[in-house]
Symmetry: C2
């Protein structure tokens, strides 16, 4: 049984015009992807060589040498190629396409006769294919390649790369599956599952969908596949510092996925898995699987997610920890994990149009994802903490994974190319369409062309998001057209106002699950104004969240704000917001600040520690406060002005 | 040049009569030391074998077999023997003495012809003596043996064990020292330094003092001794998970000790080193060394010490981290480190009679040290956090070193025997004497006999410490005697009152550096009453301590209090003390509770989370509070009633 789901509009049909996002996407096109190409080819001075392209060339017989790099080095090339696919779909670039074609030729040559594709095993351990699924990322790399192939094929219509992907998919299908003649295993890092559903969607070949479902359902079964293959390979271990084989929750292999009650283990793996589960659930109508998706979703967003849309509370295992455990300073909060959460949210939104999914998508996108990249596209955060005391880094080991400044590129360079591929494909997240209903999920300014059954409709959305909450839509079709436009009403917006062709619509009457459904016979040129007032929201965390008791965070529109030392001096733990100050926020657009952004200025108090003396503890001391003013900037823009303290959550007095 | 210092009264001359401490000391005598003897002999069912006595027997040629255990396993026997020495000095026990004599006979036989004594190297790597000072604890073990030997010799007058110690000291003196024919090195774990000064004090042999000084001064010199010996032994490493050779600050070998500005690295090593520095400084009058002691002391107590007298802010390296970094939940706060801090304080107090040293001694003793042992003497804490959320243990890796319940004994069993030897020798910490001045440092009930020059004086101190602050002294001598009794006025006590023979003395007139000097011609039977009012002190931390901003801790007398789930339910992060409530504390002695203790009950507020719903973050929510009552117990008594939350620092509303 399949269920009825909504689908994104093709990337080529959504043209982003939004100032805020255009500049990010331009960075991806002009800075990040070109830089990454240089990195993949070992031409970045001072950077450790990637060797990723070289590995493919050697495997293709075009060069000689040995494999070098991480066991999953191939995936760097795939993520680059995937981003290139999206960039080509949204704007021709013959030179980039030529480069990509060359890469595809090399990959095609590197593919083995039976369809196998992985330069690590081909070059280094040709007899050990599929012997260490727990640790060696073969299917993970395959998944990334499949995603890249589909993106490139969709952009260019060139089948060559898709053929490589299908041969790879078939090779995997030959090896894995139920029954004694096949390998009943699954990868230590989920990714193949969602990729195979994409391959199924493009090719309509059922076997890819069944294979994805097989991988999902094998995970966590007893006896442990990891354990069995571990003994078969005489207990050889690839990452001796980790304990992937036995710490099964790390890769969500501790119980069968349908029985998992909470999001556990490595956060990126978890959300990639959930994305695949939702994909398979959507394609097969598997109610139990979809219920498991909803359960894990709820656990993440109601108990294990930072206000910035970040996930992963601890560095150990880059993992979830336990419900309501959301320490701000020792957070892992990996950029990739928020990207994965966006994938998961997008799939859930396709299955059921509820604004909560789009809310989280927006929250992760406007905060953690773009916090992951500097304003010049050259430096990146892997870890996105909500509170930083730079002095402690390198001195207290619990925050040693935190950086107070973005880094150039990483040895394990997963986050920067993940940001690239997300931003390059951002158009896919704005609308979904299902039959005669178009859902507007994100208020990114754009011009889109939608096929509503047989008729083409142009939708133009203009906004000054995230600085202003007024969104204007214009609908243009050759003639009158009957369809429903469903507009998401974000949870951060109170008193939203909707005006269709000058007529105010009662949201109470048209809202369902956070979407306002406007069903109408649209005339060419029809206008909608959606006003989402962006007042400053003073956010509090659930009383079970220990780290945030007695604290508040400021949010305006989708943006979570923070205090930085650059604006407020050091010792940010000594500042307090007064309890009631609704009208005291001063909002100002500062065009020269960090690419232009709105700041929030607010009166506050600060501990006056003069006269405390040198004692560490004192009896019956009154705490003296002095009046102060605090200036908040959007979280995404932090750490672009040198080394300093930062905090999202601020004490309340 | 030597300086004039005060000395403790001999242990045999101080008879502790105090209810509170007598019961602890009885536990050591009746439970801990006997249990430890069984453990050392591998007779504890269910516990991992220690093998420590067996190692000595094999090395002595009395049994056959192989070495087993940690490289520093010998020190367990020494710590036992040291505690036995103190117990014998304060109360005869022929059976215990017979056992100890047997052990000494075995150790004597295990000693090598040249005086070398270490069963690990003797049995396992006889050709590798002194090749891995950084990691292998040879001098550390030697130091513990020397301390034990002196304690036993002082108690019994039997020289055999002291002779073994001297031969060992001489062997070390042959090997180590300046010059090309000697090893210019030092141990990775300080301990030999303070032990050699004890040996010098007992034997008056200058070479032991010089050797101690040599070890202190070699530490941290360039080029790194650890590095040199590491290369000499072909880079063999004993503890591959640590990086002792290169992480020189871990063992305070990053710069010469006289140049160290802050207390760094492994906290136990640091305070053992400081103790040795103070000992050598006191014996030699080395002003620069004493200044370094004062600097490190100030750094610890003014910037790196928990309110419970615990030190070591992080599990990584069981180490100090940085100034004012005192996280309550991820603290290491090792019992042994507080014991070491007491040693350091005691030495500083001998050098300069300032109450700040005795204050810290008391703070560590009444809080962290006895928190380290359960009320039945059978279970122990290694780590003494100030805030525990038991659910997080095992789930958030940053608190995995924390236990919510005391453990039976440890693989690396350093803390329990360290508690034993401290408590068994507690009498040494009560008084110091210098010429005709007797300093009373701790108000533990006792009867002491003091030789003031030629005359014997009996001092009786009675108190209900730590429950009541009234201390009565009686002075008895055969005839009138002229001397000064200096009574410490604790920093926790405001409005202390001193009455000598019915006459109230103005503290302002007689106080210096926190001691009240009563100089008088004492008549037999003279009385003093010292009243140290024990009101509840509401303690705040220095504004630079991030973890404690907006929080207070209750202290009464020397006891720091805490909230436990057993009395107050879970979610202790949701409770708030009201800001001003000086008179609202209800103090009650509960005889049936945890061996009898005083509780503090106080009205408070608690977050009412009803109606919050399932959302993790909410905008502009008012936090509702309900009235509540909180019951505090002394920190030392926590975790004796099963698994539950605990916190020392409580938010203030």
């Amino acid at each position: 049984m399949t269920i009825s789901i909504s689908r994104p509009i093709s990337l080529k049909d959504v043209h982003i015009t939004d100032d805020f996002w255009s500049s990010y996407i331009r960075l991806v096109r002009e800075v990040v992807v070109p830089y990454q190409w240089e990195a993949l080819n070992d031409r970045v001075e001072g950077a450790a060589p990637s060797h990723a392209m070289k590995n493919f060339k050697i495997a293709a017989g075009l060069e000689t040498g040995e494999f070098y790099g991480m066991v999953f080095q191939d995936s760097d090339v795939s993520k680059w190629l995937e981003a290139v696919g999206y960039l080509l779909e949204t704007g021709g670039d013959p030179e980039l396409e030529r480069l990509a074609d060359e890469v595809i030729d090399i990959i095609d040559k590197a593919q083995q006769k039976d369809g196998y594709l992985n330069t690590y095993f081909t070059l280094k351990e040709p007899d050990s294919r599929w012997t260490n699924l727990a640790e060696c990322h073969e299917l993970y790399c395959a998944g990334h390649f499949i995603e890249a192939a589909i993106a490139y094929y969709k952009a260019t219509g060139k089948r060559k790369v898709l053929d490589v992907a299908c041969r790879l998919g078939d090779c995997i299908d030959q090896v894995f599956g139920s029954g004694p003649d096949k390998l009943n295993g699954y990868d230590g890092h989920q990714e193949i599952e969602l990729a195979l559903v994409k391959l199924y969607n493009v090719t309509q070949e059922d076997r890819y969908l069944r294979l994805s479902q097989f991988f999902l359902d094998e995970r966590g079964k007893e006896p442990s596949f990891y354990e069995m293959e571990y003994h078969r390979r005489s207990m050889k271990v690839h990452f001796p510092m980790l304990d992937i084989v036995h710490d099964r929750a790390y890769s969500q292999a501790h119980v069968p996925i349908r029985e998992q009650q909470t999001a556990e283990g490595h956060a990126v793996r978890a959300v990639y898995m959930c994305t695949g589960m939702a994909d398979v659930g959507a394609a097969t109508g598997d109610a139990e699987l979809l219920e498991a998706c909803r359960r894990l979703w709820k656990n993440i967003v109601n108990k294990r997610m930072y206000i910035t849309g970040a996930i992963g509370s601890m560095e150990h295992g880059e993992s979830f920890s336990l419900d309501y455990d959301l320490p701000n300073d020792t957070a892992y909060a990996e950029t990739c994990a928020s990207i994965g959460l966006i994938f998961f949210a997008q799939r859930m939104l396709q299955i059921e149009p509820k604004s909560e999914y789009a809310d989280v998508m927006e929250q992760a996108l406007y905060n953690t994802v773009i916090s992951g990249m500097s304003r010049d596209g050259k430096r990146f955060f892997y870890v996105n903490p909500l509170e930083v005391w730079p002095e402690a880094i390198g001195k207290n080991h619990n925050v040693n994974h935190v950086k107070a400044e973005r880094q150039g590129w990483f040895g394990c360079a997963c986050c920067p190319p993940n940001i690239s591929r997300l931003l390059a494909s951002l158009g896919q997240y704005i609308y979904n369409i299902q039959g005669r209903t178009v859902y507007a999920n994100l208020y990114i300014g754009n011009q889109a062309t939608v096929d509503i059954e047989d008729q083409q409709v142009k939708i133009t959305a203009e906004s000054q998001f995230p600085w202003d909450g007024l969104v204007r839509f214009q609908i243009d079709a050759e003639k009158e057209i009957d369809f429903t436009l469903a507009l998401r009403i974000p949870s951060w917006s109170k008193d939203a106002k909707l005006v269709v062709q000058g007529e105010t619509i009662s949201l109470l009457e048209v809202c369902k699950n956070g979407y306002a459904y406007i069903h109408r016979k649209w005339q060419p040129g029809d206008h909608i104004e959606l006003l989402l007032p962006m007042s400053v929201n003073r956010m509090t965390g659930h009383p079970n969240v220990r780290a945030n008791i007695g604290k508040v965070a400021l949010q305006r529109g989708p943006l979570v704000y923070c205090l930085e030392e650059a604006d407020n001096g050091p010792s940010l733990h000594q500042v307090f917001l007064e309890r009631r100050q609704e009208n005291a926020y001063e909002i100002a657009f500062e065009a020269e600040l960090l690419g232009g952004l709105q700041t929030i200025t607010v009166p506050a108090k600060r501990i006056d520690s003069n006269g405390w003396g040198e004692h560490l503890y004192r009896a019956n001391m009154e705490t003296f406060m002095k009046q102060d003013t605090l200036k908040f900037i959007p979280y995404y823009a932090w750490a672009n002005r040198g080394y300093g303290e930062m905090t999202v959550w601020v004490k309340e007095e």
